[in-house]
Symmetry: C2
Subunit: 337 residues, 2 copies
């Protein structure tokens, strides 16, 4: 099963809100439907959003072509709505921009460019995760490894079946270097418990779930050799926006001298932003916190903070790895030098 694909006229996407209990494939045949799917996180994950952005423009170009004439202005308006459907992941606008770049050549050219974005995705993520695996093998003396990950940066966060951070885990497992994975459940939307657990189970890699706040205690107990996460936007200086909770993990990993590695495609790097303070953080509905998997748990009138992401300063990270480079920090933790 592929997370995202294009069947020639519609976008097919696994509905990630329904996993792990139901495997439903959405058929998205208009731009509004795509935007709604992105906003309710049926499609999520920075690399997948890049592909969805490109495919969305291809869909728009197809729908906005009549009598052999493409309404470029209408496509550009659709493209802007898609690109701004969620504010933090820069990949969404990157994918939209890629597809728009050939708009003047017509709908077929846009579709071809979107398909290139789709095809590149899996290769790029393989390259990034393979490079991350090499680095982790170098950094972490103990073997097999107990790896901790947060949220889902697996195949479900990309168009394909591999992933970025979880791709590195798959790569390490293929090399016989993984004992087990600690999976942060990742409240509020439980992408760890629902999606990462599902992917690891299918891959036959042993894992144990934990509540997010237990990760630090597991580090203290010596049960974590390495933390591997994805990214939603990386500033030019290496500061990383990722799922809420990543920053807390980074502070704790640094405190315990445990390497923390970010794996992401270059399309996640936003060279326009000098540092992470400039990254816009999406604040989502309080209902996500008041509820757990659709069940109200708190008082119905409770207010909530619900930032979808946080920003981790580069100096807390051991390395940021893409398909092209390792943005390593000057000061690796003492234990991993």
């Amino acid at each position: 099963m592929q997370t995202l694909h294009w069947d020639g006229s519609v976008i097919k996407a696994i509905d990630q809100c329904l996993l792990p209990h139901q495997e439903v494939v959405l058929s998205l045949d208009d731009v509004d439907g795509l935007i709604a799917a992105i906003q309710r996180l049926a499609i999520r994950g920075a690399p997948a959003l890049g592909v969805a952005g490109a495919l969305g423009v291809a869909l728009s170009a197809r729908l906005r072509t009549g009598d052999g004439r493409l309404d470029e202005e209408a496509v550009r308006a659709d493209a802007e709505r898609i690109a701004s459907a969620r504010p933090t992941a820069v990949n969404l606008r990157w994918g939209v921009t890629r597809a728009l770049s050939v708009l003047s050549e017509g709908a077929a050219a846009v579709e071809a460019e979107a398909l290139r974005v789709l095809e590149e995705d899996e290769r790029v993520n393989h390259d990034a995760s393979s490079r991350a695996a090499d680095l982790i093998i170098d950094l972490c003396p103990s073997r097999p490894l107990r790896v901790l990950t947060h949220c889902n940066a697996g195949g479900l966060a990309t168009a394909g079946k591999w992933g970025t951070a979880l791709g590195a885990v798959f790569e390490l497992a293929a090399r016989g270097a993984v004992e087990s994975v600690v999976v942060d459940e990742t409240r509020p939307l439980l992408q760890g418990a629902r999606l990462t657990a599902w992917e690891l189970g299918r891959a036959g890699i042993p894992y144990r779930l934990c509540v997010d706040s237990a990760a630090a205690s597991l580090m203290k107990r010596g049960l974590v050799d390495c933390v591997i996460v994805g990214a939603d936007r990386i500033a030019a200086n290496g500061d990383v926006a990722n799922k809420i909770g990543t920053y807390s993990l980074a502070v704790n990993a640094a405190h315990h001298r445990i390497p923390m590695i970010v794996v992401a495609p270059e399309s996640t790097v936003d060279e326009e932003l000098a540092d992470g303070d400039l990254i816009v953080i999406e604040e989502r509905a309080a209902d996500e916190v008041r509820s757990a998997h659709g069940v109200l748990v708190a008082p119905a009138d409770a207010e909530a903070f619900n930032p979808a992401f946080d920003v981790t300063p580069a100096e807390l990270l051991t390395a940021v790895v893409t398909e092209r480079r390792v943005m390593a920090r000057a000061a690796l933790p003492a234990r991993v030098r």
Copy 2:
């Protein structure tokens, strides 16, 4: 509404598993029912467990008296089962031991001693929380304060209506020193979202919920002036076992130079234990993590780490406050000296 009381023959307890949506009072008329209520966390919170332990022995002594004769051996067996119903909170055994100390004087004496434990609870917690409020006023220059708390150390964690850590918040609010409270939801059993939110709402103190992993990010954004939590067991050196997630908060509070204060009765201090490494940590069922408020969220066969508590070393805490003393650390964070 009082969390726990004794009506002369049965223990009455608010069923904390059903809050905030249902307010149901349990009538516990035998020891097995009490133990089951403690194990499923219908009765929870270290101070409340102390009172429940004492009342449980009173209940046993009443039931084990026939024809004017008290079966001491049977009461001692019941008492041991109550005291070991949960391993981490030392208060449970402390309360049992208090009531047992007068066993040779008969059931009426045991009942009277248990009622003394009950009556002392609210006064002791008032004293501890008032002392903590004094300290926090001294330590935190900004006013009004944005306080963060974890789990529930309110009236619901004690026999009465006041609490320990949340008692300090109530005390600070009564002095006009609280702007608002950040409430960690406290997965897996959501005592923050369910119980602390409910108590703060009833008290009319503004609060906002957050997922546990967001606390660090809120500290980084300057939205937290002070962290106040309770304790389940305190070692002689000041190391503190408390709800899972407390350790992560302590590491983050230290990193951000935010004072972190523990408030608890002296009955939580276990002078027998030299340090926190000796504290037994209860590992609870994986189902609590696989599910959220009774709804399965993860794959049904997912394994999980589910430690109910973690241990925070004394050096990460600003102070541990009881009704008798402030166990202050030598090294207060620079910002709060």
